[in-house]
């Protein structure tokens, strides 16, 4: 009897310690998206430049990186040089392209951002009321989704994309050697 209580006490302590240890490794901002491996929600929105509309479904048949950003977002400034590089990579490939979604922003602010930090050249949807962002389960900026040619979301990246991301994370997906998830 005496020993069984000691064992129970020890076991509960071990369980509590294990839960703490597991919890310490978690990033509270890194919440897994339930949208991975689900069909991406299509959108049609005016372009940032104001010359017509842009729809995700226009790009079916290609891998699309949907990058959510805003001129108010400081991490987006850090990410921008890589997006310029990634746009050059996309230009060389016929199976991959990028769409920006500028959300909770003003046209003037966003265009000033692109003038200042460089325009990667791809199209941006303008989403001032963040309807698309909420529809895509976005928490903040930057967040990026990789959508496959059939229109399924294959992975989500929270935070700035980094140099080498395409080769390390996206390319295995495109070449079909990875089953997806978050990065």
């Amino acid at each position: 009897m005496k020993n069984s209580w000691k064992i129970i006490l020890l076991l509960s302590l071990v369980v509590i310690m294990a839960l703490f240890a597991g919890g310490l490794g978690n990033d509270p901002r890194d919440i897994p998206s339930p949208l991975v491996n689900k069909p991406a929600s299509d959108f049609t929105a005016p372009t940032l430049k104001g010359n017509g509309n842009i729809s995700l479904s226009d790009y079916k048949g290609k891998w699309v990186l949907v990058n959510f950003w805003g001129s108010w977002c400081i991490s987006c400034v850090a990410e921008h040089p890589y997006l310029l590089e990634l746009a050059r990579i996309a230009d060389k490939r016929d199976d991959f392209l990028i769409i920006g979604v500028d959300f909770r922003d003003t046209r003037e602010g966003a265009n000033r951002f692109l003038q200042r930090h460089g325009d990667p050249g791809y199209k941006h949807a303008f989403d001032p009321k963040q309807k698309i962002a909420i529809d895509w389960g976005v928490y903040g900026a930057p967040e990026s989704y990789l959508v496959d040619p059939t229109g399924m979301i294959r992975l989500k990246h929270t935070g700035p994309l980094y140099f080498g991301w395409f080769e390390k994370i996206a390319l295995p997906q495109i070449q079909g050697t990875n089953s997806g998830g978050k990065t």
Binding site: W5, I31, L35, I134, Y139
Partner: protein, 163 residues
């Protein structure tokens, strides 16, 4: 002050107390509210503002929460049910979006784990107290022969001490 005056004062105090207790602030009235807004509020109070840890969409002042509230309002006005609106956010943000965890799966541990732990703890305490009580009675009265001998010797020595 006469007895009559006292009663009058007492009545006045009671009257003010009743007025005070039944009064409601002017701004608290909701009778002119659009009925759909009540539903918007019910839904928004149960959903977590995704960027502010522990505030509901309804209470938060963050831009995301305000725009989420707008999405809820649009959906309510379009005639969508409460369940389908909750599900819309669940599909996009996962069960993190619910301020109260749903009573299913591993979440049951959150709901009933603490109560279970409390019962186990109480049982353990009761057993421990019982054991301590038994032990303390044991040490208070000498039972064996050696104890008695030792007690006699102690008494003897105490008597012989010069004070």
């Amino acid at each position: 002050m006469g007895k009559h005056d006292m009663r009058r004062y007492l009545n006045l105090i009671i009257l003010f107390a009743i007025l005070f207790l039944t009064a409601s602030p002017l701004s608290a009235t909701t009778k002119n509210e659009d009925p759909s807004e009540a539903l918007v509020r019910t839904i928004a109070k149960d959903l977590r503002c995704a960027v502010c840890q522990n505030q509901s969409i309804y209470e938060s002042n963050s831009d995301l929460a305000k725009d989420m509230l707008e999405v809820i309002r649009d959906k309510v006005n379009a005639g969508e049910s409460e369940a389908s609106i909750r599900d819309y956010f669940f599909q996009r943000y996962g069960d993190y979006i619910y301020l109260k965890p749903t009573k299913s799966g591993m979440n049951m541990l959150l709901w009933f784990g603490p109560a279970f732990g409390l019962i186990i703890g109480a049982l353990a305490l009761i057993t421990a107290f019982k054991k301590w009580k038994k032990n303390s009675i044991k040490t208070a009265t000498p039972t064996t022969d050696t104890d008695k001998k030792m007690q006699a010797r102690i008494d003897e020595e105490l008597k012989n001490i010069d004070v």
